[in-house]
């Protein structure tokens, strides 16, 4: 699999998907002009990759400053695929980083965690940027 590295902008997050180490991260702002155009080329190969994963472990770090409601739908797609992958015996971890004091972002992480049985979601408070 080809690694994906995209710099962040005011509107879309920084993407660092390293398939050689199974470490993935999404950081920053997420309200791209066109959600589908931005995310589909990133998450479709990722979801395919998860479907073929056996006996592996994988880490995804999500460190959002802000994500809009259409981006939330993308997160559900990613997390659902990780949940299925985890249910097959792979070790799946999501690190949900949020700025100290950002109650809404912390709550979003807690809400996602509620739906995940086969993925470990770790909440991580970070200092304000």
């Amino acid at each position: 699999m080809e690694n994906i590295k995209i710099s962040g902008t005011d509107r879309h997050p920084e993407i660092d998907f390293d398939y050689s180490t199974n470490r993935f991260s999404i950081r920053g702002f997420s309200y791209p002009e066109n959600v589908k155009n931005f995310y589909d080329p990133i998450i479709e190969p990722f979801i395919d990759y998860l479907a073929g994963l056996e006996g592996s472990s994988l880490d995804l770090e999500c460190a959002f400053n802000y994500f809009h409601s259409s981006s939330a739908q993308v997160l559900y797609r990613i997390f659902d695929a990780m949940e299925i992958c985890g249910a097959r015996g792979n070790s799946m971890t999501i690190t949900w980083a949020y700025e100290a004091g950002d109650d809404n972002m912390q709550e979003a992480g807690e809400d996602f965690a509620e739906d995940l049985e086969n993925v470990q979601l770790i909440l991580k408070e970070i200092d304000p940027s």
Binding site: Y76, E99, D102, N104
Partner: protein, 184 residues
């Protein structure tokens, strides 16, 4: 007199506590600019992080709403270029006690009842019920006719800590003017 007109407009905005107001054709580029300026202003005023993010989020959702759904629009389509400009009003301000975001745009008469019912329903939900609706809609996919995730107003309701109000006024045979004010 030019100066009277512009001063009157400025004074009116000032009286209403408006710090940003945009009326015109809303585009993604306009939204980017407003979002950046708003972010700086909220930083400058050291607005509490949750309030600041709430205002920011409501501005994004309402602006995208105008871009996607305003029934007052101008379109042109050529082989290489589709232009679809949609007209609306967006204002951010502060009254005596709270921050607010106001939006207004035309909606088609046939859509206004559905929008009104949906907003009435959302208005009656508590935080837990809003979260459940948000989750369910994202999971099941957007409702028919939606160009986004279909949860923009649910997001607004969750972020508007002091609630929101909305209204409609008949404009002509085809369109109804829709206005919403969210308070944080």
């Amino acid at each position: 007199m030019l100066i009277d007109k512009v001063t009157a407009l400025r004074d009116h905005m000032n009286e209403e506590g408006v710090s940003f107001c945009f009326t015109g054709f809303m585009t993604e580029e306009v939204l980017s600019g407003i979002a950046q300026a708003l972010k700086k202003k909220l930083e400058l005023e050291k607005v509490d992080i949750n309030t600041a993010k709430g205002i920011f989020s409501i501005v994004i959702e309402l602006s995208q709403n105008i871009i996607r759904y305003s029934a007052e629009h101008k379109t042109s389509s050529t082989e290489h270029n589709d232009i679809d400009l949609r007209y609306g009003v967006l204002a951010v301000g502060h009254d005596e006690n709270h921050h607010y975001v106001v939006c207004g745009n035309m909606v088609q008469k046939e859509d206004s009842e559905r929008l009104s019912n949906s907003l009435m329903h959302i208005k009656g939900l508590d935080r837990k019920e809003l979260k459940a609706l948000y989750k369910q809609t994202l999971r099941e996919g957007p409702p028919k006719g939606s160009k986004g995730a279909g949860v923009g107003f649910v997001e607004i309701a969750m972020r508007a800590t002091q609630g929101f109000e909305f209204d409609f006024r008949e404009n002509d045979d085809a369109n109804v003017f829709f206005a919403l004010r969210a308070t944080i």
